[in-house]
Amino acid sequence: MKIAVCVKHAVDESELKIDPSGKPQLDGAATKMGTFDKNAVEEALRVKAAAGGEATAITVGKAEAKKSLKEALAMGADRGVHVVVDPGALDPRRTSELLAAALTKTGPYDIIMCSEGSSDTYTGLVPPMLAERLVLPYIGYVRKLEVSASGVRAERSLEESLEMVESSIPLVVSVVSEINEPRYPTLIQIMQASKKPVQELGADQLGTPDSPPATTVLSMSAQSSNRKRIIIEGSPDEAAAKLLDALVKEGVIQA
């Protein structure tokens, strides 16, 4: 079983600073592997453990995106593919185009695993775009996955229902974060990861013309929080009574 797992080297939203003019400081911002992508890596490793084979971690991003590949390798992926292109933070069309080309060039793969979305922009469009571009079956928002030699059976988690879906392989899958608990690599695994192969590809090697994007980011501005931030003091009974008074005054609970 050849498994590819797509990861994004994402801006660490919890560390993101806002400059005095209200704009996010994206240059030099702290970065990390997308939180939910770890679940995709974990699931790829579980499928590999059950069915045998090889797991390849693949990313599209600037030079520093290699850190996320290293992390996936430390978790247990066998090799990495790094498409060294900055696809622009919010252009899933371009990201999926580069990923699809890289998967075709370095594949074939039986299962292409993704998370439901990246933790920074959480657009959720890249996995189905990949399937559409690669003309493969797609099962999205999977919370249970069974893989056999002939195909997969997956439980999809939708807003109000669960669906059991079957597909042949190869296919693209996206997983939700409750599917598993990602493992933490040991120090030895982290050291060994640097010895695992990482293939670098440029856009020119993938034959994807750098077409002008259809979308443009016009502005980014910090969301202001207009919360009152009133701390209520006193003993538990005093504080509880004061809180209820305030909530009644706000009109959000009945007097």
């Binding site: 993101l16 899933p92 959480y122 988690s157 931030r229 538990p236």
Partner: protein, 314 residues
């Protein structure tokens, strides 16, 4: 391009919201018409736009998203809509992604506000777990997903229904079964009061104390991700946050929740937020109107007593 703004969702309530968004766009610019897309059969409870397009053949709107996308693609290549708005549900995101690739158009996502400016569609959306609003535009024609709750339903009833035959479409995957999630009676989307539990709750049994408070306040019980995902104390349907349910009650009472950005992203549209946490530096207090630095094990009984006292003196 026809100037039509198509709107669709497999969820009837989201479909009406997206239709209202399409109609608002059409009202803002001469030459645009909002259209509700129904598949296989007309859903009378979906309204909000002045025109309806019924795609005959294929699957209905709640069929596999790959089939829904192909149906709309076939109709779109013939009828040339300028904009296609899709409710940002889990299936809707797949439909929109596939359409943008099939139609070779730009794709905007998770729009909470839309406008037409200089012949482009402009979408405001939350990024970085709600820390930042990004304004992104796309040339027309284009596709965008629209976040649920962004537009209010209106009573505009379509005055005209057009029909289009899309023909048979085969799915690559096979849906074996579909079952409703066991969410019990929890309906966080429509709850006016939400009591939400976090890691400050020490064991599963203690949730009953919070449930009692929720009952007293005629509210619903929600939780942060660790309780549903890692600990499994509550079903996933109770999880409020970026990847869970997005809520906007009148009152959101966070008990023992530290306030990670992913959690805030799911509740920041609440009218009033109150929080109880033992850590005075917990980020939840920055996202709250009222905060009590204290132990929820003392505050929950105190709140119940205070509620009883209030009701007694009425």
């Amino acid at each position: 391009m026809s100037g039509e703004i198509w709107s669709l969702s497999e969820s009837t309530s989201v479909a009406s919201e997206v239709a209202a968004g399409a109609q608002a766009l059409a009202n803002s610019m001469q030459g645009f018409v909002a259209v509700i897309i129904d598949m296989k059969e007309i859903r009378d409870d979906v309204h909000g736009a002045k025109k309806r397009l019924l795609l005959k053949g294929g699957e209905n709107a709640s069929g596999p998203p790959e089939v829904v996308a192909e149906s709309i693609f076939r109709a779109a290549t013939k009828l040339m809509p300028s904009v296609i708005l899709v409710g940002a549900t889990r299936n809707g995101r797949e439909v929109a992604s596939r359409l943008a690739i099939k139609l070779r158009t730009g794709c905007l996502a998770e729009a909470s506000r839309l406008s037409l400016e200089d012949g482009r569609l402009v979408a405001d959306r939350s990024v970085y777990a709600g820390k930042v609003t990004a304004r992104i535009s796309s040339s027309l024609p284009c596709v965008s997903t629209v976040r649920a709750g962004s537009y209010s339903r209106t009573d505009d009833i379509p005055g005209e229904t057009q029909e289009y035959e899309v023909g048979e479409i085969a799915a690559k995957t096979k849906t074996l079964s579909s079952s409703k999630k066991e969410s019990g009676t929890v309906d966080l989307k429509s709850a006016k009061v939400i009591i939400s539990a976090g890691r400050g709750v020490k064991k599963k049994e203690d949730l009953s104390m919070l449930e009692d408070l929720a009952k007293d306040m005629k509210g619903a019980l929600g939780c942060s991700r660790p309780l549903s995902s890692d600990l499994g104390w509550l079903p996933e349907e109770h999880h409020i946050g970026l990847t869970g349910v997005n809520v906007k009650p009148d009152l959101y009472l966070a008990l023992g929740i530290s306030g990670q950005l992913q959690h805030i992203a799911g509740m920041k549209d609440s009218k009033v937020v109150a929080a109880v946490n033992t850590d005075k530096d917990a980020p939840i207090f920055q996202a709250s109107d009222y905060g009590i630095v204290g132990d929820l094990y003392l505050l929950v009984p105190a709140l119940r007593r205070a509620l009883t006292a209030r009701r007694g003196t009425r």
